[in-house]
C-alpha cells in the first residue's frame, strides 16, 4: 500500500525531510499502526511520537485521530499542535 507522508514545522526539522512516499504492508490499517511502524525507524521518530499530545495528524488534509483508517494513496501529514492566529 503506497502512502504519501508530509511533515511540517518542528517535525519536518527534526526529520530533515518535508515529504516522502512509502510502501507499507497491507496489515497496517490505522494511523496508530502506521505510527508504530514509523517509530521502528529510530530515535528521531520515537522522539516525535513519544507523547500523543506533542503531535497532530491529518489524512487527505483533514485533522483526524489515531484510530482513523488509512487507504492506499492517502496523503498523511504529521505536525506539531497548531499555533496560528
Amino acid at each position: 500500500m503506497k502512502i504519501k507522508l508530509f511533515y511540517f514545522a518542528k517535525v519536518r526539522e527534526i526529520l530533515g525531510i518535508d515529504r516522502e512516499e512509502i510502501d507499507v504492508e497491507d496489515d497496517i490499517k490505522t494511523l496508530a499502526e502506521l505510527v508504530a511502524f514509523l517509530k521502528m525507524r529510530g530515535s528521531k521518530w520515537q522522539s516525535i511520537f513519544e507523547a500523543p499530545s506533542s503531535y497532530r495528524m491529518a489524512v487527505n488534509q483533514e485533522l483526524v485521530e489515531a484510530n482513523h483508517r488509512i487507504n492506499t494513496n492517502d496523503e498523511v501529514a504529521f505536525f506539531p499542535p497548531i499555533t496560528g492566529g
Binding site: 508530509f6 511540517f8 514545522a9 518542528k10 491529518a58 488534509q61 483533514e62 485533522l63 501529514a77 505536525f79 506539531p80 499542535p81 497548531i82 499555533t83 496560528g84 492566529g85
Partner: protein, 150 residues
C-alpha cells in the same frame, strides 16, 4: 458569500470592510485583527515571526470553519485572511470580518471563527531573535476556548 485568503502580503482590513459593506445590507460588522507581538514566549525581543502552513489543507480548514459558522448563525458574509512567511513586529497576521443583520450574531460568529482557527487551521509560528529561533508551543487555553462552543 464567504471567502478565505492565505497570503504572504500585508492586508488592509479597514478597506476590505468598506468594500464588502457595499455588497450587503447588513446592520452590523465585527472585525478581529491579530498582530505580531514584540516578544511572546522568550525573553529576548523578536526580530521576525515566521509562519509555516500546510498549503491546500489551510484553505480547506478555513473554509470549513466558515461553513460551521454560517450554519450556526444567520450571516451576510464572512471574510478570513491569514498570512504566512516572514512577518515583522506589529504587522497584522490574521483578520476576520463578519457581516450580519444584528450585532449579536456578528460578535458571536467572529469569536467562534477565531477560536476554531487557533486549533484547526494548520499554521505554525517560529520566533526569530538575533540570538536564536524557536517554535512556539501550542497553548492549552486555545483548546479550552474552542471546547466552550460545543
Amino acid at each position: 458569500m464567504m471567502s478565505v485568503h492565505v497570503q504572504e502580503n500585508l492586508f488592509d482590513l479597514q478597506s476590505i470592510t468598506q468594500q464588502l459593506k457595499k455588497l450587503h445590507n447588513s446592520g452590523a460588522s465585527v472585525t478581529f485583527e491579530g498582530y505580531v507581538r514584540d516578544f511572546d514566549t522568550g525573553q529576548e525581543r523578536l526580530d521576525l515571526l515566521e509562519l509555516e502552513h500546510y498549503p491546500g489543507m489551510t484553505e480547506k480548514a478555513l473554509s470549513s470553519i466558515e461553513s460551521l459558522a454560517k450554519h450556526r448563525w444567520h450571516l451576510d458574509d464572512i471574510y478570513i485572511v491569514h498570512r504566512y512567511g516572514k512577518l515583522k513586529i506589529g504587522e497584522p497576521i490574521v483578520g476576520v470580518i463578519v457581516f450580519a443583520k444584528h450585532r449579536k450574531e456578528a460578535f458571536e460568529a467572529c469569536h467562534f471563527i477565531i477560536d476554531f482557527l487557533k486549533t484547526d487551521a494548520p499554521f505554525w509560528k517560529k520566533e526569530i531573535t538575533n540570538q536564536q529561533s524557536y517554535w512556539v508551543d501550542a497553548k492549552k487555553i486555545d483548546d479550552e476556548e474552542k471546547s466552550k462552543w460545543k
